[in-house]
């Protein structure tokens, strides 16, 4: 049965570097938690600490209501899927999946039943007698997942399981993992640096940077209400544009004016909450998501800007266009039929129900969520 996972004040430091800085969070039973962040942010260390492969300096790790902080990996009732698969090369697929059960002295008939059930679920039936060397990357990763699910552990740990697969396979494996999570109702802690994986799989995302939790919340929470610049630019692809400027009071309404002179009147619902900041000398960064622009055609609701195209990247269904608006280089996303060419002048409309504004110095969001 799946359990909750409670991390309390976990600190981990190597001789001179703090890797995990007083981390706390709780995963409810059956929750899919994704730890996301750039390399070196401590996400893998945290996962390994939960697995017991890495000791922690301070803090407590609980699985269900059992304190596992000082237990060996084998006593924690967890399963882990490694980035490099870590299959036993001298054993067949069957033996790989059965290994954990054999160690736990399950009866052979039970082992056979469980291994075949897992293999069926993961489309591995034809490969049971093969050695890992005779499998493709995707099949190996499925064996690694099979080895994890066959034991029905309290917690599943995934350490960047898809990063070694090609893009197409990654997409289908992502869906398999999501399905598996629904079927098993398992508590999963999943590490990735890929924000698409994080957005699509997670019930809750934890953004880590420099050993600190930057923000914790549902994928949409993080997308619409990023608490700081790091989260805002990390979540979403292409990344959010940031314009530097100040908030001014112009004829009784709050207006953002960039250093290069681009002006934007804040939507009505934000007028009152940000009025106090208007006229203040502190620097503000206005965050603009590329997908909040469209070509200005017909009736326009939002403000319209004239932009000069610098580079167009064709992605198929959409194009990412780097354009120049009053000296600001801004990425915008346009649907497929629009393929403006270099140097072309286009009129674009900005339309967004959400406002992203950050204090430049503290990098914290100034928009109440």
């Amino acid at each position: 049965m799946s359990s909750s996972l409670t991390i309390t004040n976990v600190v981990k430091a190597y001789s001179d570097k703090v890797v995990l800085n007083n981390l706390s969070f709780k995963a409810e039973p059956g929750e899919f938690i994704v730890l996301v962040g750039p390399s070196g942010c401590g996400k893998s260390t945290l996962l390994r600490a939960v697995a017991g492969l890495e000791g922690i300096g301070f803090g407590k790790i609980m699985i269900g209501d059992r304190d596992v902080t000082n237990l060996a990996p084998k006593d924690r009732d967890i399963a882990m899927v490694f980035q490099d698969y870590a299959l036993y090369p001298h054993k067949t697929v069957y033996e790989n999946i059965a290994f954990g059960l054999r160690i736990r002295r399950f009866p052979e008939t039970k082992i056979d039943e469980l291994v075949r059930a897992a293999a069926l679920k993961l489309d591995l039936m034809p490969y049971l007698e093969r050695k890992p060397a005779a499998l493709s990357g995707g099949q190996r990763q499925r064996v690694a997942i099979g080895r994890a699910i066959v034991r029905n552990p309290k917690i599943f740990l995934f350490d960047e399981p898809l990063s070694n697969l090609d893009a197409k396979l990654r997409g289908s494996m992502r869906i398999s993992i999501a399905k598996l999570h629904k079927e098993l109702a398992a508590t999963i802690l999943y590490v990735t640096h890929d924000q698409v994986e994080a957005m699509t799989l997670a019930d809750k995302i934890i953004v880590l940077e420099g050993g600190d939790v930057q923000q914790m919340g549902t994928p949409l929470d993080l997308y619409y209400h990023p608490s700081n610049i790091f989260v805002a630019t990390f979540i979403g692809s292409p990344s959010m544009n940031l314009l530097e400027g100040r908030l001014l009071d112009r004829d009784g309404s709050v207006v953002f004016r960039s250093d290069l002179g681009l002006e934007h009147r804040l939507a009505d619902e934000y007028q009152s909450v940000l009025r106090s900041a208007a006229g203040s000398p502190r620097k503000i960064l206005w965050g603009v998501r590329p997908e909040n622009f469209r070509l200005a055609e017909g009736d326009c609701v939002g403000p319209v800007y004239t932009a000069r195209v610098v580079v167009t990247e064709l992605l198929g269904p959409t194009s990412t266009v780097l354009c120049d608006i009053k000296g600001h280089e801004i990425h915008i996303s346009l649907p497929a039929p629009h393929r403006p060419t270099r140097g072309q002048e286009i009129r674009i409309e900005f339309r967004s129900r959400h406002l992203y504004m950050f204090d430049k110095e503290s990098t914290i969001s100034i928009v109440p969520s």
Binding site: K74, F82, D84, Y88, R151
Partner: protein, 279 residues
């Protein structure tokens, strides 16, 4: 066409050289076989036939029946088996620690182990003798086994450490998550994957212990404890050397080593760890 001819001429010389070299190194071995088959009165004949016309097994019969040959062989066998087992057990555990753990003095230990290989065994003879004397191990198998083990260990440790370094750590971590202890994952995952290097370490220990003469000469004093190299030397009588017996015994003792080599070649497979982790 001309190109083919000139390249053939080039390889012709190379092959001539190789054949010459092979004959030069094989000749003494074949010569021993020949000598072992000759009747006693024709030992110093310059005849080149591999199997002489009047070949006889008399030398073999005499070695097997009239000398302590089988006792020497038994002694060598005991010492070799013990040396290689102890050596490989100690070397694999030491090499694993040196490969996997970080501890103060690790690099010094490795350099020190390497340094001991630079010292010829003859130099170690005297201190070795005194140490074994203090431990009352002179004239015992234990003394010889101890001496052989310490001289073969450094090489085996280096060899195995090098191999363990190539076994991905995540395999052991996976095994520990699967339910093994650290010792368990070493025993059930790392060692089975390291059979090629274990076989080489084993072979090295076996040949070292099987053929060694000088250390055994110093430590073993009672003739009933003699290993075969010591025993063979005994065949040189005070007045005459029995070359026929010597040759027959030499051929006989080479056979087990050849058998071991042929048998162990099946373990010397490469690529055992292939496919376990993403390369």
């Amino acid at each position: 066409m001309t190109e083919d001819k000139s390249s053939w001429r080039k390889t012709w010389w190379v092959h001539l050289l190789l054949v010459g070299g092979a004959m030069a190194s094989a000749f003494p071995l074949l010569r021993i076989v020949t000598v072992s088959l000759r009747p006693g009165d024709r030992l110093f004949s310059t005849e080149l036939a591999l199997i002489p016309a009047d070949a006889t097994l008399a030398n073999y019969v005499e070695v097997f029946t009239k000398t302590g040959f089988f006792s020497w062989l038994g002694n060598s066998l005991i010492i070799t088996v013990l040396t290689s087992l102890i050596g490989v057990c100690l070397a694999s555990t030491a090499a694993y620690a040196l490969s996997r753990y970080r501890f103060p003095g690790k690099s010094q230990v490795l350099v020190f182990l390497m340094a001991t290989q630079m010292i010829p065994v003859v130099v170690l003879l005297l201190p070795l003798y005194f140490m074994l004397k203090k431990l009352s191990l002179i004239d015992t198998f234990a003394g010889v086994v101890a001496a052989y083990s310490v001289t073969t260990l450094p090489f085996c440790v280096w060899l195995l450490k090098g191999y363990f370094d190539t076994v991905p750590r995540s395999l052991e971590e996976a095994a520990q998550v699967d339910g093994l202890t650290e010792v368990g994952s070493f025993w059930r995952i790392v060692l089975p994957l390291s059979t090629p290097s274990l076989a080489i370490a084993m072979l090295y220990s076996i040949t070292q212990a099987w053929n060694e003469y000088i250390v055994a000469r110093v430590i073993l004093q009672s003739s009933e404890l003699y290993t075969w190299p010591l025993g063979l030397f005994e065949l040189q009588g005070d007045f005459s050397a029995r070359w026929g017996l010597f040759a027959a015994a030499s051929v006989a003792v080479s056979i087990p080593v050849v058998v071991v080599f042929l048998y162990s070649s099946r373990w010397l497979l490469s690529g055992l760890t292939l496919g376990g982790v993403k390369g």
